[in-house]
């Protein structure tokens, strides 16, 4: 009998395999497991066996039945999966048609760059301070060591307001003065904001944005200035960007420096953008002038500090290849929609 059973099992499984649709499979089920099936017949024949033989034979037949059942189930799953898939395949969709708009908002390039820069500096531990856009002459110039009637004041064409009573701040440096009035050192501050100069062409806007940074503590020196700015540039432009510092002049820092970075376009080989020099002027910096510290009530022998500042528009224009600064302020939706 075991021999027959193996043949029987093979025949049953072949029968199931040959069914190719759910009705065919149902037919196979009836044939194999129904009342008139061979398995049912075998089970009925058990009664003719002796009580000693019966359990053994019963187990063998039941095992056969279970094999058949699980084969049927497996086949059912595979057929219905195939049929579902066939149905889904008929549901088509033209992926090239536009989607229904769901808020294609966009950031302003200045906002994007400003946020990136603030994230870098707050990540380094700086705190953020802001100052008013209409300033006093004292905070914009006087306390920043611009002497009265000195040509240094010509470096920044000033908009005067309210009949000379105030001015539109020409740089974010007055925030240094505010911070010194507000806090005792040590402090490290970053000050973003809008500034104004009486100047307008393709690269100069009467309204633009700056980021000022300054760090006052005991023992701060020019090496710290270099280290901090190098770190910043590496975070902004990557480790491969080289920096160099050249002497320069700002009334509120001494010694003062211009920082150049290797050209973001050609990497320092020399191109049109960097006028073949391989370098781009990016920011002004220096050790805070003792007069500025003293005007802020800070003992310049005990405390030293560095400060730096740069234009956000320039960084944004370089980053996105914007060639006319005025585009930034015209609100043309075709322009505004590009930056994310």
């Amino acid at each position: 009998m075991p021999d027959d059973l193996e043949k029987l099992k093979a025949a049953f499984l072949a029968r199931i395999a040959s069914a190719d649709s759910l009705p065919e499979l149902e037919q196979a089920r009836v044939e194999l497991l129904g009342k008139k099936s061979e398995i049912t017949g075998l089970l009925k024949g058990l009664g003719k066996l002796s009580p000693q033989e019966r359990p053994e034979a019963g187990k063998v037949i039941n095992d056969l039945r279970m094999v058949v059942e699980s084969a049927l189930e497996e086949k059912t799953t595979s057929i219905s999966r195939r049929e579902t898939l066939a149905k889904l395949e008929k549901e088509t969709f033209d992926i090239t048609l536009p989607g229904r708009p769901a808020g294609k908002g966009a950031f302003h390039p200045i906002g994007l760059v400003m946020e990136e820069l603030l994230d870098i500096f707050t990540g380094l531990g700086y705190m953020v301070e802001e100052g008013p856009e209409i300033e006093t002459e004292e905070r914009n110039f006087g306390k920043l060591n611009f002497p009265d009637d000195h040509p240094a004041r010509d470096m920044q064409d000033t908009f005067w307001v309210q009949n000379g009573a105030r001015l539109l701040r020409t740089h974010t440096s007055p925030v240094q003065v505010h911070a010194m009035e507000k806090y005792k050192p040590p402090f490290a501050v970053i000050a973003p904001g809008r500034v104004f100069r009486c100047d307008s062409d393709v690269t100069h806007s009467p309204v633009f944005h700056q980021l000022e940074g300054f760090h006052v503590d005991k023992g701060i020196n020019f090496g710290h200035l270099k280290g901090s700015l190098e770190l910043f540039i590496h975070r902004l432009y990557g480790m491969d960007t080289k920096v160099r510092f050249r002497p320069s002049f700002f009334p509120f820092t001494e010694p003062s420096a211009e920082m150049d970075i290797s050209c973001v376009m050609c990497g320092g080989k020399g191109c049109r953008l960097c006028k073949g020099t391989g370098w781009m002027e990016i920011l002004g910096a220096g050790m805070i002038d003792p007069n500025v510290l003293e005007a802020g009530g800070i003992d310049s022998e005990e405390w030293t500090g560095f400060a730096f500042g740069f234009g956000i528009e320039r960084i944004a224009m370089l980053k996105y290849g914007i060639d006319d600064i005025r585009l930034l302020f015209e609100n043309d939706p075709r322009f505004l929609g590009q930056f994310r």
Binding site: G164, N221, F222, R246, S248, P255, S256, T304, F329
Partner: protein, 795 residues
Amino acid sequence: MLISVKWMEELIPTGLSPENIAVLLTDLGLETSIVDDRRGWYQGMVIGKVLSKESHPNADKLSLCKVDVGEATLDIVCGAPNVGAGQTVVVARVGAALPDGMKIEKRKVRGQVSEGMICSESELMLSTDHDGIMTLEDGLAPGASFGDMYEVCDTVLEVDLTPNRGDCLSMIGIARELAATTGTPLRMPDTSLDEDTQARSSDKIDVQIEAPDLCPRYTGRVITGLTAAKSPFWMRRRLAAVGVRAINNLVDVTNYVLMETGHPLHAFDLREVSGGRIVVRRANDGERFTTLDGKSHQLSPDNLVIADAKRAVALAGVMGGENSEVKDTTSEVMLEAAFFDPSSVRRTSKGLGIKSESSYRFERGCDVEGLIFAQDRAASLMVSLGGGKALAGRVDAYPRKIEKRKVTIRQARVEAIMGVSVEMERIEEILTGLEMEKVSTDGQALMVEVPHFRFDIEREIDLVEEVARFVGYDKVKPTAPEVPVSVTGLSRSLRIRRALRRHLCSIGLMEGMRYSFVSMSDIDRFLIPAEHPWRRLAPIDNPLTSEWTHMRPSLLPGLVSAIKGTRETSVFEIGVVFQQTSPTQSDERWMAAVVLTENANPGLWEGRAPKRDLFHMKGVAESMASHLGYSEVTFLPSSHPYYYPKRQADILAGGVKLGSMGQIRPETLGAYQVDQELFTMEWDLDAVAANPAPKTMCEKLTKFPSVKRDLAVVVDESVTARSLAEAIKKHGGRLVRQVEIFDIYVGGKIGEGKKSVAFSLEFLDETRTLVDEEASNAFEKIVEGLGRDLGARLR
């Protein structure tokens, strides 16, 4: 500041290439670039002597010249009217190329052979002089290379000077920096002068300083017997290289010495100086004066003038007068070399709107001692170029002696500032290399005396900078410092702005940015009445254009003025607005504004997007409020003049007004040429920051089921949705969980002046399963209450 490298080489023969000089200067903080490079020019151009000139047989305006060029005599056809036998000229021989690229070939000109070209200054790009061929002084050997003979194959550098370095506004000033960095000694130009042995300058002039505070020193030197003429080529060439136009030898000498030494000089025609008397005084109030550029000015006692016995003859340090300027007929001059107070010169120059090479230098500070050298140098050149005789000595009025400053530098301070240790010997070497004199030292500190020309050095830190410049910034090792811990981080205001920007972008708006300026006509276009807060504008004294005369009182004018011509706009701006609170004070607030056009994004392919209305803006307002954490926001009627009277609202949360919104009036749209409806909104972010939403507390989620009922009532059209919803909540009691409108109908079926409003109501008891009957009771009470309060009847 332009620098001729050839001229520089005479003052300091470093032998360095222009490129190297540019790098050295840039590394010292004098940003330098090459702006004109003539190395390799003028090949094949030689000195020629015109032997003969005959007229051209076939052309009236041409002549045939025979020109000796040393190894040969060339036939040259020349078109210049001024060519003549005996002249020494520049000949471009066959094979040479002119600076503009034109190749010289042997060719026939109207049938006559021409074997070269006699050049003009403009053809050689040495000046814009088109008057004819260039003639040189006699006695030059024909055939000599023009490029070798003169400094014409020069390179010009431009030095972008910072305003503290007035001392570098000259060839010698720059040479001093080069001397200090290379160690090559400076060769000062010749000032030797063969003075008259009899007559003295003081015989002819007399100087009186009435305002020594503004003029500590005034000197005059007299030169007689001069003849005005064209300056020699070498001087005209050098002046042209540094950007100065040649006039005549007398004027050119003063300009030349100005460029060479940096000290402004002025030559007066002594005939015009009445009584030979020089009075340095403040101008009289209202005194009129005509400067040598022909412009007339009204002066005040703030202006310092140089006067003679009768009248002003110069604006001190700024510009000479038309009445006493040097002319072609001048033979006797007084050469002024003086020191004027920098602030005073600057005030006069700014006040009268006159900028000159002289005022530019005086306001940056000149050398009160070095002016003697400049005067002698000019006298020496004037005598050698203009003939004549310098009278003996000078008149030197120096009532207020200016002492040299003494400044001490500590070695420890250098290290504290720079972060590198510099040896005392090196510090001393650097400073003495900059012509500072050592006064004393104790091994840790060094006291030096600062030369007069270094106006920028007053304090120790100024010396530290000098040391740092010459040590080199690249010698300082970069070190990241420890940053002091701060507890503040981003301010609340900044966090709000940041959150709003991100939110508004994510709901489909674009971030825009406009200028901070408006004009009075913007205010008028917004129909702003008198006394309205928008009229309290902070005025700009010196606006760039008539459209930008005041600081913006709102973000709306800027946003609306950018709409013209765009089809669809969904833009917001976050920025500062201004309001004048007194004639000298103003308030600043951070605002956020949104503008939506009626046209929406056209990107729907299954039909055009519906036009937007005020409810779109209200949706933005609600989502903003929700994002800022306000659970309840109310919209109350408002009366902003630029909105439709009944299509606007103030936006409140927690009882505080945070903003307003509305539909822009057609008059305003018309004024800005906007041809569609516009919806705008403005929030006061300072008010938002000052009124934070209550802290969010987690609400328990209920596991009991709710009961839903629909309710449609007919009411008068004037009954607002808000009052219905509030009445439902009031009468339904604590079981009313949610009230939502799902339909509004106006039409014939329900009668004139009526509307039907349908609500979906949700009842819930948080503590147990609600019995249907309880919900029905509440529903009955609501229907009854609505009827009583608002005249509503069930539909």
